[in-house]
C-alpha cells in the first residue's frame, strides 16, 4: 500500500522508478474512498488536479530529476492557499472562496515536486482543540471514530494517521499541530516563530501562528522542515537564518544531551496513563544516554490566560477583514454597518464569535492596559523562563496533551475546559520556540495514542529532531496503525 509509506520509503521507490507518483497518488485517493466516510478528514479534494500533478512529477522523474518530495502526495489544511482550490478555513463566512494564489509553502512544495492535494478539515479559523468547531463536518479519530482527533489541525492529523496521504501541512497557534498529532499517533512539528513563511496562511494570531508538518516518522519531519523553511520577502516576520540540512542531525545519539523536566508540568489534571507513558519515555531516553535536569518554568500557571488574551486580541483584528465586501458570503443590510454585522453574525460559528468578543473586549478602551498590555508583559516573563531553562538544557520534555482523545461532544459546551487542553503546548507559541510531538505509547483500553513533546530553543529544531528520532528508533509506537482496515 503506497499510501501507507513514509516520505523516505516512498521517495526511494519513486527514485528507483519502482513505482510512479501517479500510482502513489491513486493509492491515497483509493484510501480516501475506503475510509474517509468514517474519518471525515477531507472537506474536499480535486482528484483530477492531484493526478495531473502526479503525472508532471513522473515526467520530472523520467527526465532524471530526484528529490525527497518529488512525487509524494501531501494533504493541505484548509487554512493555506492553494491556487485555484477552495479555501474556507472551516467557516461558512468564506462562501465559495477560491484562492487566487499559492502560499509560499505551497510554491516551495510544488518546486520540490510534491503532489499537493485536498482541503483538510479544521476548527473554524483554527480556533479549537477538537476540530468540532468546523462548520462542515466532525472529523473522527482514526483510532476510535467516536472520539475527536484533536485540533485545530484535526483533519491533517487524522488523514496522516489513516494513511489517506503520506504527510500533511497544518498550522499551530497554540498547539494545533502537536496536540492532534499526539491524539492521532503521528509526528507533528511546530517550527520556531519566523522559521517558515506564513504568506498565504489565513491569519489567526499573527504573533503566534506557524506552519508545520504532520508525518509518520521523525525523518520525514526533517525533510518537510527543510523544504518549508527560509526567509520570504512576502512575510516580513520570516527570519533570515540559514536553513540546515535537518536530516544530518538525525544521528540516533542523545548521549550527553541534557533534557529538562519542568516541575510545574507534573501537576494535577494530568491523566495517569499519560503520566505513565511519559515516565517510561523519559526512562527510555535516560537509557539512551540523555541526562535529566529538573528545571523550573515559574510562570507556567499563567500561560493559558496570557494566551487567551493575546490570541483573541490578534484574532479580533485579523478577522475584521471578513466583512462581506471583497470576498466570501454576504448578508445584505441597509447600510455598511448593518451589512458587516449581519454577514459576520451569520457567517461565524460560536467559538469564533466568543473569541472575537473576548479579543475586542480586552482591546477596548479602559481594558487595554489591564488585560492586553499586562498579558504582553507576562509573555515576556514566560519567554524569559524558557530562555533561562535553555541555558541549562538542550531540550525540554513534556506530555503533549494532558489527556488522550475524548468523546465527540464531551467538552463542546465548556470553552474553558477546552482551553485547558492546551496547557503544555501554548507556551511554545508565546515564547516563539519550536516543538515536536512523537508517539510514546497507548492507553490500554480503549487503545488511544499518547504523545511526547520535545521543546527546543528558537531555531533549535535540529536538537529536538535528533532527540525525537533517537527515541523513535528505540521504540515501535510510530509503526502501529489504527484499526480502520
Amino acid at each position: 500500500m503506497l499510501n501507507a509509506l513514509t516520505i523516505s520509503e516512498l521517495g526511494k521507490k519513486l527514485a528507483a522508478r519502482e513505482v510512479s507518483a501517479r500510482e502513489a497518488t491513486q493509492a491515497c485517493l483509493d484510501r480516501i474512498q475506503q475510509v474517509d466516510g468514517r474519518v471525515r478528514a477531507f472537506v474536499s479534494y480535486d482528484a483530477r488536479d492531484a493526478l495531473a500533478q502526479a503525472a508532471a512529477a513522473d515526467q520530472r522523474l523520467a527526465a532524471g530529476e530526484r528529490g525527497p518530495l518529488l512525487g509524494v502526495p501531501l494533504g493541505i489544511k484548509d487554512v493555506i492557499s492553494v491556487k485555484g482550490q477552495p479555501l474556507r478555513c472551516g467557516s461558512k463566512i468564506l462562501g465559495q472562496f477560491v484562492s487566487p494564489y499559492d502560499a509560499t509553502v505551497i510554491q516551495k512544495l510544488r518546486a520540490a515536486g510534491a503532489v499537493v492535494f485536498g482541503r483538510l478539515n479544521m476548527d473554524e479559523f483554527a480556533m479549537g482543540s477538537s476540530t468540532e468547531n468546523s462548520a462542515f463536518q466532525t472529523t473522527g479519530n482514526p483510532w476510535d471514530t467516536s472520539r475527536i482527533p484533536g485540533g485545530s489541525s484535526g483533519g491533517s492529523a487524522a488523514a496522516v494517521a489513516a494513511d489517506e496521504c503520506v504527510a500533511a501541512l497544518g498550522s499551530d497557534t497554540g498547539g494545533s499541530i502537536r496536540q492532534p498529532a499526539a491524539l492521532c499517533g503521528c509526528v507533528g512539528l511546530k517550527p520556531s516563530y519566523g522559521r517558515v513563511s506564513r504568506f498565504g496562511l489565513v491569519a489567526f494570531a499573527s504573533s503566534l501562528d506557524q506552519i508545520g508538518s504532520f508525518t509518520k516518522q521523525v525523518r520525514d519531519a526533517a525533510t518537510m522542515l527543510e523544504a518549508l523553511s527560509g526567509v520570504d520577502p512576502c512575510d516580513s516576520t520570516s527570519v533570515p537564518q540559514p536553513v540546515p540540512h535537518y536530516a544530518t542531525s538525525l544521528s540516533g545519539e542523545v548521549k550527553g544531551l541534557r533534557l529538562g523536566l519542568a516541575k510545574e508540568y507534573m501537576v494535577g489534571g494530568l491523566n495517569p496513563e499519560v503520566r505513565l507513558a511519559m515516565d517510561a519515555a523519559v526512562n527510555q531516553l535516560v537509557k539512551l544516554g540523555a541526562e535529566l535536569v529538573e528545571i523550573s518554568l515559574p510562570h507556567t500557571d499563567y500561560a493559558v490566560a496570557t494566551y487567551y488574551i493575546i490570541a483573541t486580541a490578534e484574532a479580533s483584528a485579523n478577522l475584521a477583514r471578513f466583512d462581506g465586501i471583497r470576498y466570501g458570503a454576504r448578508v445584505e443590510g441597509a447600510d455598511p454597518t448593518e451589512l458587516y454585522s449581519k454577514t459576520r453574525g451569520a457567517g461565524f460559528g460560536p467559538e469564533v464569535k466568543r473569541r472575537i468578543l473576548l479579543g475586542t473586549y480586552v482591546l477596548s478602551s479602559g481594558y487595554y492596559d489591564a488585560y492586553y498590555i499586562r498579558a504582553q508583559k507576562v509573555r515576556t516573563l514566560i519567554r524569559a523562563d524558557f530562555l533561562k531553562a535553555f541555558e541549562k538544557v538542550d531540550a525540554i520534555i513534556t506530555p503533549t496533551s494532558p489527556t488522550p482523545a475524548f468523546k465527540i461532544g464531551e467538552k463542546a459546551d465548556d470553552p474553558l475546559q477546552m482551553y485547558l487542553m492546551d496547557i503544555f503546548t501554548i507556551s511554545a507559541n508565546l515564547a516563539g520556540i519550536c516543538g515536536i510531538s512523537v508517539p510514546c505509547g497507548f492507553t490500554p483500553s480503549p487503545r488511544l495514542p499518547i504523545g511526547l513533546q520535545l521543546l527546543g530553543k528558537p531555531f533549535g529544531e535540529e536538537t529536538i529532531l535528533r532527540v525525537a528520532h533517537a527515541y523513535e528508533q528505540a521504540t515501535a509506537w510510530h509503526k502501529e496503525k489504527p484499526p480502520l482496515s
Binding site: A329, L339, S341, R344, P350, K353, Y361, K377
Partner: protein, 95 residues
Amino acid sequence: MAATDIDVNYVAHLARLSLSPEEAQKFGAQLKSVLGYIEKLQEVDVNGIEPTAHAFPLINVTRPDEVRPSLDHAEALRNAPAQANGLFMVPKIVE
C-alpha cells in the same frame, strides 16, 4: 476592574457582530467564566517588564520599492459577493 461587567451587546457592536438574544446571553455567561480565569494575571508582578509583541522582533524589514506583478483586476474581483463595472458593490454610503 470587575471581570463580571462585560456588556456583550456593546462589545458585539464594537466588533460589528450581530448576536441573537440567546447568543448574547450564552456568550455573556461563558465569557464571564473565561474572564474570571484570566483575572489570575493580576497576581503577576509586571513592574519594569517590557511587553512582548513578537517573540522574534525584526526591526525595519524593507524591500526595494519596485513595481512587481500582482493580481490582475479580474482575479482580485473573482471572489467578490457583488460587483459591477470592475468594482466591488456596497450599500449606499453617502447621500
